[in-house]
């Protein structure tokens, strides 16, 4: 006999109630606990009884709660708080009355206008929402004001709202939002409401507490993994050991003998084990004996790939950019420096492995997952089940990290989870949970890349020539993004950040070699800026060192007056470091600056050598210009996190393949994540800009690696052209 602990607000019963409700009726959904998508029953975005929903983004309940429907997935980068701030600002709401919900898949209502589909990526959430979400709030405000004006018989112009309370000029009437929702619901919503000017902002630019912090500090936040609908089946999957291999034969007798295992099925992605509980599903998976057919597999080792890429990079590729005559300039330069860089595959390794709950019942598909491109995932689900998109309800869940991993142009994971569910031919909900081994060995890595750089200095130490040849595979090819991203053979992503090198170098060429590779790859936090910024900023630093040029002054001189925002963050970070004082004995500092996703970031790292001879990053300083800082503390947090992510990868991480194409890492023991004892102190300054806001989720990552490598080279004399910096042990 079992007993349920009674004290848990997040216990199975409430969540079960939610899921039952979501599939059955909206009425049962109005419950006092914050639950994902509680308003989204079959009727989509219709508001709960008595609520006022002027548009698809805002709902005001009779209790004055303002709920913002956030069309972007939340995995820590802050849209729930950021987008709610925009609505609250224009609505003049009190921050304490704000709530947020993640929008379901509904492209018509929730498209990202920068992509033309519903999705999150490229650090665009704030940029694409800044005006629409403010308008949504302003429209709601206008209707509430009109409702109050009608009720009190005064001119709307006399009404003010102070922290969620409306009052007239005389002060004789007061009302809360909730008092007015019934009246407001009957009025017409203005299409083009007036927005505040920046000097009227009261919330934007201030620090408001993140809406999702409390439940993420007490265990109550619900992620996909935490969904336990009635009759849940848990599935695990065994993938082939090489990319492109297929199942040849399966001996599942031992797996089926595990108590709790329901079934074993071969699916396109591998072999799925279905069980009544997670442990049985894992134990069953471990008991599988599978023969694999590797005839179509990628069998090269990463060492072989590296040799092939290196050969390619020795010749000029397709020009992504060509200024002046680089060969001639190199030929006549006083000093020429050459370097070949190696960048390994990198896994994203979000804390929550990929997972989904899918139910196919009576022709209706209902799916819950941390979907990052809802439009494409919904399409993938519809394809697998052979139903119209309208028969697919896809509920976006809070996700335990992504770093790009959940944004899948081919909807791979949604398709895999759908195939796993469909193969069982059941109307019970099926949760597919990847293990960490599935994740680390599951591909969709940051691509392996080789850069070959040649730089020329004249006799006065001026940088007169720069030739950068980049050999990398394209992950845009064959996806819905291909037409948009690949023009005249140049993959804008592959060369991003190098093609746009801001420095005034008269003879500059960036060549691209798109390599074929059977290892599936994907955007990884800040996409290809990670390796491009690293090569740019370390190689330039070496040229400066060779020429005796100060790294900050040298960069400022080459930026000239054409790139004031690059210069602005660089000067700011230099000031921060000046305040911090001289470099302590045994340490060195290195700088890097890079623009990505519209935001400008400069960083300085202070590094020493530890007892094991490895780098220890003590402190880092960061200046960021991302336009209007909507929530400075979220920006600081994203810089800290983006830097930590970059530091960990540059110091410790690589996915390597042995001969035959087998991934050599499988979990955090050998694919090391940065840990607290390796994390530097970080100071961040946010530039008070009035430019339109741009992204912060990714731009903190690219400069961190080169800043550390530059410090290390200045400390030890060793250039770092191979990553990771700390060689991985076998």
């Amino acid at each position: 006999m079992t007993r349920q602990p009674e004290t848990t607000a997040t216990g199975g019963l409430t969540r079960r109630g939610f899921l039952k409700g979501a599939a059955a009726s909206a009425a049962s959904l109005v419950i006092g606990v914050h639950l994902p998508n509680r308003a989204w029953a079959e009727d989509g975005v219709e508001p709960a009884a008595g609520a006022f929903a002027p548009n698809a983004f805002v709902r005001i309940d009779p209790d004055s709660t303002v709920t913002v429907i956030v069309k972007h997935i939340e995995f820590g980068q802050g849209p729930v708080t950021g987008l709610s701030t925009l609505v609250a600002e224009e609505l003049d709401a009190d921050w304490l009355q704000m709530r947020a919900e993640l929008a379901p898949a509904d492209t018509a209502k929730y498209t990202n206008k920068l992509f033309g589909l519903q999705g999150t990526g490229g650090s665009t959430a704030m940029a694409s929402s800044f005006e629409p979400m403010r308008k949504a709030g302003a429209a709601a405000r206008a209707v509430l004001v009109q409702a109050a004006a009608n009720r009190w018989g005064v001119d709307p112009g006399e009404i003010t709202i102070e922290r969620g309370t409306l009052s007239d000029g005389s002060g004789s009437h007061k009302a809360s939002f909730g008092d007015l929702v019934a009246d407001a619901a009957k009025l017409e919503v203005p299409g083009d409401p007036k927005l505040k000017s920046p000097d009227q902002f009261r919330l934007i630019g201030t620090q408001v507490g993140k809406l999702d912090t409390p439940e993420k500090s007490n265990g109550k936040q619900i992620f996909t993994l935490d969904l336990y609908p009635d009759d849940l089946i848990t599935a695990t999957i065994l993938h082939p050991p090489q990319f492109g291999a297929k199942v040849a034969s399966v001996d599942d007798s031992a797996a089926r003998a595990v108590k709790g295992v329901i079934d074993v099925k071969t699916v396109p992605a591998g072999v799925a084990v279905y069980a009544e509980n997670t442990h049985a599903a894992l134990k069953g998976r471990k008991a599988l004996k599978v023969q694999w057919d590797s005839s179509g597999a990628e069998t090269r080792s990463t060492l072989q790939m590296e040799r092939e890429y290196s050969q390619a990079a020795k010749k000029p590729g397709l020009d992504a950019r060509s200024d002046g005559d680089v060969e001639k300039a190199l030929g006549s330069a006083d000093t020429v420096i050459e370097a070949e860089y190696f960048f390994p595959f990198l896994a994203h390794a979000p804390m929550e492995t990929l997972d989904a709950v899918i139910q196919f019942k009576e022709g209706q598909v209902t799916a819950w997952m941390g979907t990052q491109i809802q439009t494409l995932d919904r399409g993938g689900l519809a394809r697998v089940f052979g139903v119209d998109k309208e028969k697919v309800l896809l509920y976006t869940q809070y996700a335990g990290g992504s770093f790009g991993r959940r944004a899948q142009p081919g909807a791979d994971f949604a398709v895999e989870a759908a195939q796993v569910t469909k193969a069982l031919d059941t109307d019970r909900p099926v949760k597919l949970m990847w293990t960490r081994e599935n994740d680390i060995q599951g591909g969709r890595y940051r691509p392996l890349a080789i850069h070959r750089l040649r730089g020329g200095l004249d006799k006065d130490g001026n940088v007169v020539a720069w030739d950068q040849q980049i050999a990398v595979q394209s992950f845009m090819k064959g996806t819905p993004f291909e037409d948009f991203m690949i023009k005249d053979g140049i993959d804008a992503s592959a060369v991003e950040g190098s093609k746009e090198l801001p420095y005034a170098i008269p003879n500059l060429r960036v060549g691209q070699h798109l390599m074929d590779n059977g290892v599936p790859t994907l955007w990884w936090r800040s996409v290809e800026h990670t390796h491009n910024a690293y090569a740019n900023e370390t190689f330039l630093d070496e040229l400066f060192e060779r020429a005796g040029t100060d790294p900050v002054e040298g960069r400022l001189a080459l930026l000239g007056d054409k790139h004031p925002r690059h210069s602005g963050v660089l000067k700011k970070v230099a000031e921060m470091v000046k305040k911090a004082g001289d470099v302590p004995e045994g340490r060195q500092r290195g700088v890097a600056v890079h623009k990505s996703f519209g935001s400008y970031v400069a960083q300085i790292a202070e590094v020493s050598k530890n007892a094991a001879g490895e780098p220890r990053v003590h402190r880092m300083w960061c200046a960021v210009d991302c336009g209007v800082p909507v929530n400075p503390d979220v920006i600081r947090a994203q810089m800290e996190g983006g830097m930590g992510y970059g530091i960990g990868a540059v110091l410790y991480d690589a996915i390597s393949l042995s001969d035959g194409g087998y991934v050599e890492q499988s979990n955090f023991d050998r694919y090391r994540s940065i840990r607290i004892n390796e994390m530097p102190d970080i100071e961040v300054e946010v530039i008070r800009s009035t430019e339109p806001p741009t992204g912060v989720g990714e731009p903190g990552t690219p400069p961190s690696g080169p800043a550390i490598a530059n410090a290390w080279r200045r400390l030890t004399g060793q250039s770092v052209h191979r990553l990771p910096l700390v060689p991985i042990t076998a």
């Binding site: 134990k283 050459e338 081994e437 390597s656 060689p727």
Partner: protein
């Protein structure tokens, strides 16, 4: 014109240990380790000279003492080691009071009373009720067999009489774990019984230490 090439391909760097190592080297070590056996005291009967016999038997004990299963928790530093290559323990953990880890993260945070096979992959997490690091005075990592031997005989460092040492080697459960290290781990050669007999025979022959 000066031409400075400041980086070269991986092939040339392998010898410097700068490239990703490939797992085959470790796999080869493992095969060699698996093939190891532990000889009994009788196997040394043909050595007439008692003190030479004693040394030979200690050298045989050395197969156990210097085995990675044993050295991992006899490190010279303040962190345990892992694997046949004795790399740094991941996650990082420190010796702490009594060799049991730090407040908030003790050995027992992860290591339970028994070995536990992983359910998500091959391998296991080792366990024993007494799981902890040996005191620093008993560090074996990086030491010669002669040094380890003299250290064992020095009661200031070993905190054991030879009689107690024999009992420890022959019967201690944590020592015995070395022969039953769990899924995915190569056990130390032989059996704890033979190890105990070797220790007794070594003591009986004068507990002579190897040179060096």
């Amino acid at each position: 014109m000066k031409r400075i090439v400041i980086a070269i391909g991986c092939a040339a760097l392998v010898s410097l240990g700068l490239c990703l190592k490939i797992g085959t080297a470790i796999a080869a070590d493992s095969e060699a380790a698996k093939a190891q056996t532990l000889q009994s005291p009788e196997d040394f009967a043909n050595i007439r000279d008692e003190s030479k016999r004693s040394v030979a038997m200690f050298n045989e004990m050395g197969k156990v003492l210097t085995h990675p299963r044993c050295v991992s928790c006899h490190p010279r530093g303040d962190s345990p080691l892992q694997g046949m290559d004795l790399h740094k323990h991941e996650p990082p953990i420190v010796r702490g009071a009594g060799g049991m880890g730090a407040p908030g993260m003790r050995c027992s945070t992860c290591h339970g009373d028994d070995n536990v096979a992983f359910s998500t992959e091959e391998g296991s997490i080792p366990g024993h009720p007494g799981w902890r690091l040996a005191p620093k005075s008993m560090a074996w990592e990086g030491k010669s067999l002669g040094e380890i031997c003299r250290q064992l005989k020095d009661q200031d460092r070993s905190h054991m009489t030879l009689e107690e040492l024999q009992k420890h080697n022959a019967t201690d459960g944590l020592v015995g774990w070395g022969w039953h290290p769990g899924e995915g781990r190569i056990p130390v050669p032989g059996t704890q019984k033979i190890f105990g007999e070797l220790t007794q025979a070594w003591i009986d022959t004068g507990a002579v230490c190897p040179e060096g």
